[in-house]
């Protein structure tokens, strides 16, 4: 990374968040997530610095940036998965539909039901395919077998997996290929009908065909869900997302329409990154 020079550091510090980047493109009433003056600390490490961001309903927001820039940490703030780590601290607000997710009265379990997440490495449970998808329903106290059956089928269809596996629902989830396992994880997240879907490099371990299927799926899913996707692959961000946020050293450098970021970014450093000059 060439960023370490003194000059660049100064340049980074001077980059404030420009209202223009989202203000003109996002209508206030359709805003799903608002991030305000958000800071995040791992112990003494200041991992996310003063992030401001608004995310529209039914939009796909791609988060790009070099490794260690805090993009996964940022994503994991939306469903408070970082809570499982010791010694972390939040500052500032993130609100979903106007409700602050760090509110003391908010049940984190409810939040996570509403904000689904798919991880970088597919992580099905060592259970059958059916049980994997039904898990989220069962832990939420749903026992109606017909309902579960229906919802499992619907989720698998939404995840474009149903036709491939409909005859082997009772087989182990590990019998599926890598790409199928990842779509199973998406189906599992969809089964509880969240409103927001967080995808943490969902295709980084997959071959191009499986990746293509996941990307197609994201296009379909945005009709129903608001999607935030972290990706290392710039082409992927360009292909799937409506908006792109560029992170660097824990700061949000630029956030705008995807084609703007990739063709005519405001900041020089963004251009350097998206054209592959560093990172």
């Amino acid at each position: 990374m060439t960023i370490a020079t003194e000059k660049n550091k100064v340049q980074l510090k001077s980059i404030g968040f420009s209202d223009r980047a989202y203000g003109r493109s996002v209508e206030e009433n359709k805003i799903k997530i608002v991030v305000e003056d958000f800071n995040f600390f791992y112990g003494k490490t200041h991992a996310l610095k003063n992030i401001n961001m608004k995310i529209r309903s039914n939009a796909v927001v791609g988060i790009i940036g070099p490794s260690g820039c805090g993009k996964s940490t940022f994503l994991r703030c939306f469903n408070r998965m970082n809570d499982t780590i010791n010694n972390i601290r939040y500052q500032g607000d993130i609100s979903v539909d106007g409700n602050n997710i760090f509110d003391k009265d908010l049940d984190v379990v409810d939040l996570r039901r509403n904000v689904g997440m798919v991880f970088q490495k597919s992580n099905p449970f060592p259970k059958s395919i059916f049980e994997n998808v039904a898990y989220g329903l069962k832990i939420n106290g749903i026992n109606d077998k017909d309902f579960i059956q229906e919802r499992v089928e619907k989720s698998l269809k939404d995840a474009a997996l149903w036709s491939e596996i409909k005859d082997r629902l009772n087989e182990s989830a590990f019998s599926l290929s890598g790409g199928q396992q990842q779509r199973l994880c998406i189906a599992r997240a969809l089964a509880v009908e969240p409103e927001i879907l967080l995808l943490d490099e969902p295709a980084s371990a997959l071959d191009p065909i499986a990746t293509g299927k996941i990307e197609e799926l994201i296009h379909e899913l945005k009709k129903k869900y608001t999607i935030v996707i972290v990706t290392h692959n710039m082409q992927q961000a360009a292909r799937v997302s409506d908006y792109t946020a560029f992170f660097m050293l824990g700061e949000l450098v630029e956030y705008d329409f995807t084609n703007k970021i990739f063709t005519n970014p405001l900041k020089k450093i963004t251009e350097d990154y998206v054209t592959g000059r560093f990172g």
Binding site: R112, P126, Y135, G136, I139
Partner: protein, 307 residues
């Protein structure tokens, strides 16, 4: 001759390296074989010494007889059913106490306890395994017994429940330690996936982590059971040891192990009674052998899955 070659030739090994290699190999092989030979030797000894017993005792009545009375003036009886039932009662009782407690403790240590608590608590649990069985038996007489007799209004507390409680204490360290390892080995991605779906910590432990670690936990329980079946001194001291068919968990029982321990010291050498005690030992050996073998198979299977 080059200089290098000359250097190699200067020091000649006092022994041919090939032979040396073989000797070393043989030494370690012999070490490994000793425990195998010991096992086979014990099995052979038990079998050889048991066989004479069956010259006079019908093997069917030995295995199915309801009375054990080798010193009767009228008719000597060699039925092991009361002892098998006693062993079963005490062991099952111990497992009923130890398994829920052990799994609960293991789950606490692996998922709930802070690292500091775990660092202190786990060694303490393991030290529990090192307490001599005589000391635990002693506790059974002076502590558990009186408490039980107060609760159930019996004359004394030396009964099957007492034995179960003490054996549970002895089986716990094994169960906790191995179950905790099994839970620790469950990939954290399962836990993350479960939490991200809106599961509580408790649901995650009960529905994802314990099922995923189940084979390890079963193996832990089997090993704990092996310990409980084979334990002698504690049950000898705490269970009353009446050589009759046990009537209830509140009555005195006499396990296979305590029968051998009690009678072997007083029996006349090379009598049928003497040989019959060895036959008891053989039965016990076979029981613990199979328990250990099954738990080993399960544990092995589980290691393969997690690799």
């Amino acid at each position: 001759m080059t200089v290098v070659a000359a250097q190699y030739n200067r020091r000649r090994p006092w022994i041919n390296p090939k032979i040396k290699e073989k000797l070393i190999h043989g030494f370690f092989f012999a070490n490994g074989m000793i425990s195998v030979l010991a096992l086979l030797g014990i099995f052979a000894l038990l079998t050889m010494t048991s066989i004479p017993a069956f010259r006079e005792i019908n093997i069917g009545s030995f295995l199915t007889g309801f009375e054990w009375n080798p010193t009767s003036y009228v008719k000597e009886q060699y039925g092991i059913v009361p002892m098998l039932v006693s062993t079963l009662m005490v062991t099952v009782g111990a497992l009923l106490i130890a398994i829920p407690l052990g799994i609960g403790t293991a789950a606490y240590l692996s998922d709930v306890a802070s690292p500091k608590v775990r660092e202190i608590a786990k060694p303490i649990v393991e030290i529990l395994a090192g307490i001599p069985s005589v000391v635990i038996g002693f506790l059974g007489i002076v502590l558990v017994g009186p408490i039980l007799s107060k609760i159930f209004h019996t004359h004394n507390g030396l009964n099957a429940i007492n034995g179960s409680v003490l054996l549970a204490v002895m089986a716990l360290p094994t169960i906790i330690s191995i179950s905790e390892d099994a839970l620790k080995n469950v990939p954290s991605s399962y836990e993350q996936a479960s939490l991200a779906l809106g599961a509580s910590k408790w649901q995650t432990i009960a529905r994802v982590k314990i099922p995923a670690a189940l084979s390890g936990i079963i193996a832990a329980c089997m090993l704990g059971m092996g310990r409980a079946v084979g334990e002698t001194m504690t049950v000898l001291m705490a269970t009353g040891c009446a050589p009759a068919m046990p009537k209830s968990m509140l009555g005195p029982v006499r396990t296979l192990t305590s029968s051998i321990a009690i009678e072997l010291g007083e029996v006349a050498y090379n009598t049928t009674h003497y040989y019959a005690l060895f036959a008891l030992g053989l039965v016990l050996f076979l029981i613990t052998f199979f328990i250990n073998m099954i738990s080993d198979i399960i544990l092995h299977k589980y290691e393969k899955v997690n690799r």
